[in-house]
């Protein structure tokens, strides 16, 4: 439970460091798996849940939903894990043991209300859009990823992407969206 160490790791994760990504995954794995064992899930399910929770935490860090730590990274992982475990138990129509669930959420949990916890599969139309997205130029992809995924403001995109002015970023972004939209709408209707 070393919070100052975690603050550094959080910064490294935000920057996209592979080493930090690996370290946090490995450091928390055993603790998480033994915590999750208590709920009678198959070990493969537990590992799936850990991986899903880990990716979810990472996504929320990258998208700026987790800016400042109010608990350790490990507590965040367990809190996300609890949500995912409960979801899995319900999905499996598992008889949820009242006693273990009674103390499920507690005051030690990290606050994850603002997090995106669900990952919904793409619709058929969106799968198509994904294909068109690949056809965009590298610059367009980069600008859209910075805005919609990393949630960089126009100003931040300007400095990260070496643009000369905010207006250039704005018009580039809307041009990219427009291109994508045109590709998308030129699709024959039967694919909808």
């Amino acid at each position: 439970m070393n919070k100052s160490k975690d603050v550094i790791l959080l910064e490294e994760l935000k920057r996209g460091s592979d080493d930090a990504f690996k370290k946090v995954y490995q450091d928390n794995r055993t603790k998480f798996l033994s915590f999750a064992k208590k709920y009678g899930l198959e070990s493969q399910d537990i590992l799936d849940i850990y991986q899903d929770s880990y990716i979810t935490l990472y996504e929320n860090i990258v998208s700026g939903k987790l800016i400042e730590l109010s608990s350790t990274l490990s507590t965040y992982l367990i809190s996300i894990g609890k949500y995912k475990i409960l979801e899995r138990l319900r999905k499996n129509k598992h008889k949820v043991n009242d006693e273990s669930i009674f103390n499920f959420y507690n005051e030690n949990d990290a606050s994850i209300e603002a997090f995106d916890l669900e990952f919904e599969k793409l619709t058929t139309k969106e799968e198509l859009l994904a294909m068109y997205f690949d056809q965009l130029g590298e610059k367009c992809k980069a600008i859209l990823i910075m805005f919609y995924y990393k949630k960089y403001s126009i100003k931040e995109i300007m400095s990260f992407g070496n643009y000369n002015s905010e207006n250039v970023v704005k018009s580039q972004k809307s041009r990219c969206l427009k291109t994508l939209k045109q590709l998308f709408h030129s699709t024959p209707k039967q694919n909808e």
């Binding site: 995954y25 794995r29 139309k125 994904a130 997205f133 805005f147 939209k181």
Partner: protein, 243 residues
């Protein structure tokens, strides 16, 4: 505040509660605004999905690293139980012997591997096609001359870093019994996350099988069956067979 500004703030999670009200009202009343919002929302979901499959890949690689680096530790009091298991294993072994040989990783590779056709570089022998390195490479590939394919594609891949070059180079290595090198090429395609992504996952799993790395193969097969795209049914079957 104009509509564009509202959308901008929405995607940066920056709407004030008053703006949120205006936003919700516009979604109800203004169909053009709603359509634009839904389009941008889909763009966001698409990007998230793309990044998620790369992250899943990374996490699964970390997992295979853990399995390959950790040696099992034997604790003395467990030895008796182990001895008992050995007796059981021997008797089971006799029973399993025959079924194992039909389901060994190498065997499974042989029954599931199919050469991927040349879909990127059409060759018209009747035309006077210019003899580029690419043409020669894919000609060699089509005529099963894999030594030559490897040589030419290695050269091409050092000049330009395209997913399809790595993808077909991976195949040539695989056909040439160089599974380790094939694995590197398919991983390379996957980390790019674009063309041939799903196909490369499948062939990466097969390359692991060929290399007798069953647990790594299974990690990838799980992703394939979960994603439900290229060869998802075959992946499910292989998972059952190797369970």
């Amino acid at each position: 505040m104009n509509k564009e500004e509202l959308l901008y703030k929405y995607f940066l999670d920056d709407l004030s509660s008053e703006e949120q009200l205006v936003f919700t009202k516009l979604l109800e009343d203004d169909s053009e605004f709603k359509a634009q919002f839904e389009f941008e929302k889909s763009v966001q979901r698409v990007i998230k999905a793309k990044n998620r499959s790369i992250l899943e890949e990374n996490v699964s690689n970390l997992e295979t690293d853990i399995h390959t680096s950790s040696e099992p530790k034997i604790i003395p009091w467990k030895i008796f139980r182990i001895a008992a298991s050995i007796v059981l294993l021997i008797s089971l072994g006799i029973y399993m012997y025959t079924s194992y040989w039909s389901n060994s990783p190498e065997q499974l590779f042989a029954s599931y591997y199919e050469k991927y056709p040349n879909t990127v570089f059409p060759i018209n022998r009747s035309d006077n096609q210019e003899e580029t390195a690419e043409l020669l490479a894919f000609e060699a590939y089509e005529s099963d001359n894999y030594n030559k394919t490897v040589e030419l594609l290695e050269e091409l891949s050092s000049q330009r870093d395209h997913a399809y070059i790595h993808f077909y180079l991976g195949h040539a290595y695989l056909e040439n019994n160089q599974a380790n090198k094939a694995i590197q090429e398919f991983k390379n395609v996957i980390t790019k996350g674009q063309d041939f992504l799903n196909e490369s996952r499948w062939y990466l799993a097969l390359a692991f099988l060929k290399n007798d790395e069953l647990s790594k193969a299974r990690e990838i097969l799980k992703i394939i069956s979960r994603e439900g795209k290229f060869k998802a049914n075959e992946a499910k079957k292989l998972l059952e067979l190797t369970d």
